[in-house]
């Protein structure tokens, strides 16, 4: 995966990794800039998707079976990540609903009660 081997025509591991990096950075900037709590949650979902793309791309392009590992460990990892992301989104939304019921706004700037 040296710089010299990267070309636009033939899709390799590098392409998927760069796309995943772009998705990760977009998700991170979303988390950092949004004031709506659900916007932050959307950013977290983007970050998790980027990680999943990484996992599945490595699973496809590595000869894990030849090295004695499990053939599909990347995909199984990704399945677990998706399931855990769904669970985390459910709990996060329950917390946001409670926050909205108490503060009548979904703005995270208002969550400053514990500020010293």
């Amino acid at each position: 995966m040296m710089l010299a081997q990267f070309n636009l025509g033939e899709v390799g591991l590098t392409h998927y990794l760069m796309l995943a990096a772009l998705l990760f950075v977009c998700g991170l900037v979303t988390i950092l800039t949004k004031r709506n709590a659900i916007g932050i949650l959307i950013g977290v979902e983007l970050v998790l998707n980027a990680a999943n793309v990484n996992l599945v791309a490595f699973n496809r392009f590595s000869h894990g079976a030849a090295a004695g590992g499990v053939l599909l460990s990347g995909q199984v990892f990704a399945v677990f990540v998706i399931v855990l992301a769904a669970a985390e989104a459910a709990v996060a939304l329950a917390i946001f609903l409670n926050f909205y019921n108490n503060f009548s706004t979904i703005d995270v700037e208002r969550a400053s009660n514990l500020k010293g």
Binding site: M1, M2, L3, Q5, F6, G9, E10, V11, G12, L13, T14, Y16, L17, M18, L19, A21, L22, F24, V25, G27, V29, L32, T33, K34, R35, A37, I38, G39, I42, E45, L46, N52, V53, V56, A57, F58, N59, R60, F61, V70, L71, L72, S73, Q75, V76, A78, V79, F80, I82, V83, A85, A86, A87, A89, A90, V91, L93, F96, L97, N101
Partner: protein, 172 residues
């Protein structure tokens, strides 16, 4: 340029453009729709990477479950349809700076990494693809413990989320 490359750029472009729209949009519902397209693009990429079951799982759970949940949350917590919460410009500037820096570091790391020994850049030969039985046997064989732990975790999450979101009477 092979057809796999064309499809990669199509799905990858869709996912990347939708991610940029998520960052740039100020309306929360449009962010959710852009996230839908990003998830769809990633599902297309999974199809390209010979992970058909995972692509279907992504569509069912992410696009047809988590995203619906997010849109429900948006509808239940918005006072007017087009509320806009603007961050301060200095925060946006710092965030974009951090983002660009991180992207540069990641891309240069990917391009300059030299691990030709551990990972090959050729995909597995086509006839050594991934039949569905292998995934099922892996889930119930090598990965049985995480599988059971995740099911217990999901039960806990269901009970916890239902309890947290229960409508409570406000103190008068």
């Amino acid at each position: 340029m092979s057809s796999e490359a064309v499809l990669f750029y199509a799905f990858g472009g869709l996912a990347a453009a939708s991610a940029v729209v998520v960052v740039a949009s100020r309306n929360i519902v449009r962010m959710a729709v852009a996230l839908l397209f990003a998830l769809g693009g990633v599902a297309g990429l999974y199809f390209l990477l010979a992970a058909e079951f995972l692509a279907a799982v992504q569509l069912v759970i992410y696009a047809g479950g988590t995203l619906i949940l997010i849109v429900f949350g948006v509808m239940l917590t918005s006072k007017s349809p087009f509320t806009r919460l603007q961050p301060r410009p200095i925060e946006v500037g710092i965030a974009l700076g951090i983002g660009t820096l991180l992207l540069a570091v990641l891309v240069s790391g990917i391009l300059l990494a030299d691990c030709a020994g551990a990972f090959a850049s050729e995909p597995l030969p086509a006839d050594q693809g991934y039949p569905m039985q292998t995934l099922g046997q892996a889930l119930l064989g090598d990965f049985l413990l995480p599988f059971e732990l995740v099911s217990v975790l999901l039960l806990v999450v269901m009970i916890g989320a239902a309890y947290l979101a229960k409508a409570r009477r406000r103190p008068e």
